[in-house]
Amino acid sequence: MSSEILLQVEGLCARAAGNEILRGLDLTVRAGEVHAVMGPNGSGKSTLANVLAGRPGVEVTAGKVLYRGRNLVEMAPEERAREGIFLAFQYPVEIPGVTNLYFLKAAANAVRKHRGLEELDAMDFLSLARRKMKLVEMDEKMMSRAINEGFSGGEKKRNEVLQMAILEPVLSILDETDSGLDIDALGIVSRGVNSLRSAERSMIVITHYQRLLDHIVPDRVHVLAGGRIVRSGGKELALELEEQGYAWIEGGAGAA
């Protein structure tokens, strides 16, 4: 049984800060699948995440990216978000002066409005947020604080997963969500992510290390090197990488 293709990336080339980073990347993600993208530093993992989310300054120079059949490259970042794409940031941004609660409500209602749902008032939103906060074991006090301001590394990542839980995206891209997390926080974040897995939702989990994949078990694992996917396999590929490191890739396909 093969489900609907959500994301189709073909021959993607992209530049960031004047450097050619992605050099002909192919990737197909179907509904319900979890794909892990692994690879050494500088291989283009974060650039891939940024291309999908639409970060200004990352320029697609060739290839195509189709999301549910639509050309993703032409869509503004906010439109992608409303259409169900979610990037969990590797470095969540601190925004002083805007409370987490105000931000999450504005985001949730922007997405709901786009989906033809009624916007939530303050009370309804708060009760939704409370439910979702339990999922990531987040203290309610965090809601009245400025977005990510003074949050610990773990709190920031939990806040990302909270946003994900509230916005209920179709395709989530987790960009090194495991970086900077201790083992307890990793467990909490992973449980949050896993609770969102379903037959309709897909995820691209970008990571440097295999340990996250013990918690979020992928359907497919891809190795990114030199801006291209050089190897794909099942979840056992991640274990192989853990044992062998990336040296074999860097000596081979990574030379470009």
Binding site: A53, G54, R55, P56, G57, A76, P77, E78, R80, A81, R82, F86, L87, F89, P92, V93, I95, P96, G97, V98, F103, A106, A107, A110, V111, H114, A146, I147, Q163, L167
Partner: protein, 443 residues
């Protein structure tokens, strides 16, 4: 050119003294003569003057401004409500082109021997409460602009809060400018005398109705007796053709607290000149400021906090948003006099430049003549944070909303310091509306 300006105002003063000011008490007559003599001597400051290096008054000096005609008859209550803060309970005093407009004002009954009213009504009284106060903090010999106002002012608000009295209701003073066919000038004058342990909130609100070349030359004097507290909002939202040159002079006795919020949104040329003297031990002074300028607007905040006595504390925090070809100037000086030990002073200026052509000259300065003090200062210039914009957009928030959220966050750091909630909210709204008028579309 400067000579012409001097002649223009000196000639105008001759007429003014014979007509409008004919009924002045002798002390005021003497003060005015001293003031016009001072102006005749110096004329308008030029850019050779260090304090005016970044702000050119040439166009002001060249324009033959005439005293604005009375215009309160053409103003309806609806006009005013559109411009003002109708929402919350204030005691409202409205002045149109520098003259009191009783029909537009709504003073509330105030208890406890509080004297409040318009200067013009108080002046003829034999026991004039203004004598000895008016002109004592903003002295005509200190500079051309204070001198000009002193020579020509006809009206404004006076507030005297007796010892121990606390006024809960803000006093909202609207100085409304209604420009005419020709270039006009008005001279609003405010005097606040806070008795021992008293407390009051005063909002000076400079507004225009309609366009036209107009010059507001405002002076505000605030004297705080021991242990008193005054919160002072000065909101400038005049028309884009207007020039606004304002001076605020504050003297603080022992343990008094002065808290100011200087907000500049309008005007083609704005200069706010603030001097606060901490003239008693343990006085506390907080100067907050926010400015928004776009197109060819020029806004200059020139402040001095003078720690003349020990154990004083001051905090100064100015922020601004500049777009298009707008130009901002922040020049903030903190002086710590010899003997003003245990002074603590902080000074910060932060700017957001939304365009490559916008410009800010930021000059925080400390002059310290005592050794046991804690002083810090700093300034910064930046753009809207691109990473923050992307973060908000990546959650479905559109670009215009994301920008307004970040700008509101930028200004909230200043407005959060306004003590009265209803006032804070209204000013937040005004600021946001003004900031959104700077490029609605963007990068």
């Amino acid at each position: 050119m400067t000579r012409d300006a001097r002649e223009h105002y000196v000639a105008g003063f001759g007429q003014f003294a014979e007509r409008e000011a004919a009924g002045d008490p002798p002390w005021l007559h003497a003060l005015r003569k001293q003031a016009i003599a001072r102006f005749a001597e110096t004329g308008f400051p030029t850019r050779d003057d260090e304090a005016w290096r970044y702000t050119n008054l040439g166009p002001i000096a060249r324009t033959p401004f005439e005293i604005a005609a009375p215009a309160s008859a053409v103003i309806g209550r609806a006009d005013l409500e559109r411009l003002s803060f109708p929402v919350f309970a204030c005691s409202v005093f409205v002045f149109v082109n520098g003259r009191f407009a009783p029909s537009l004002s709504a003073p509330r009954a105030l208890a406890g021997g509080i004297q409040i009213g318009n200067l013009a009504a108080a002046l003829p009284s034999p026991l004039c409460p203004l004598e000895g106060h008016l002109g004592s903090l903003a002295r005509p010999d200190e500079g051309a602009l204070v001198a000009l106002n002193t020579a020509f002012f006809t009206d404004g608000v006076m507030l005297h809060v007796p010892a121990g009295v606390e006024i809960e209701t803000p006093i909202h003073v609207v100085y409304l400018s209604v420009p005419g066919e020709r270039a006009t000038i008005s001279y609003p004058r405010t005097l606040v005398v806070a008795g021992r342990g008293s407390r009051a909130t005063v909002v000076e609100d400079f507004v225009s109705l309609g366009g036209g070349v107009a010059f507001t030359n405002a002076v505000c004097e605030i004297a705080l007796a021991e242990g008193s507290a005054v919160e002072h909002v000065s909101l400038q939202r005049e028309h884009e053709d207007a020039a606004h040159l304002g001076a605020i002079r504050v003297r603080q006795a022992r343990d008094s607290r002065y808290k100011a919020h200087g907000i500049s949104l309008g005007g083609r040329l704005t200069r706010n000149d603030v001097l606060a003297i901490l003239d008693g031990p343990g006085a506390d002074c907080e100067l907050n400021g926010f400015y928004v300028a776009s197109d060819a607007q020029h806004v200059d905040n020139h402040t001095t906090i003078d720690h003349a006595r020990p154990q004083g504390t001051s905090r100064e925090f100015y922020k601004g948003v500049l777009d298009d070809r707008a130009r901002g100037v922040f020049s903030g000086k903190v002086i710590v006099r010899p003997g003003a030990q245990k002074t603590s002073a902080q000074q910060t200026n932060k700017n957001l430049l939304l365009s490559a052509d916008a410009e800010i000259d930021s000059k925080p300065q400390l002059e310290i003549f005592a050794d046991d003090v804690r002083c810090s200062h700093g300034s910064s210039i930046g753009q809207l944070d691109e990473d923050a914009l992307f973060y908000l957009r990546a959650r479905g928030i559109d670009l215009a909303t994301a920008r307004s959220l970040l700008m509101r966050a930028f200004s909230a750091e200043i407005t959060a310091r306004i003590g009265i909630g209803a006032l804070r909210e209204r000013i937040d709204e005004l600021l946001l509306a003004r900031m959104l008028r700077t490029r609605a579309e963007a990068a």
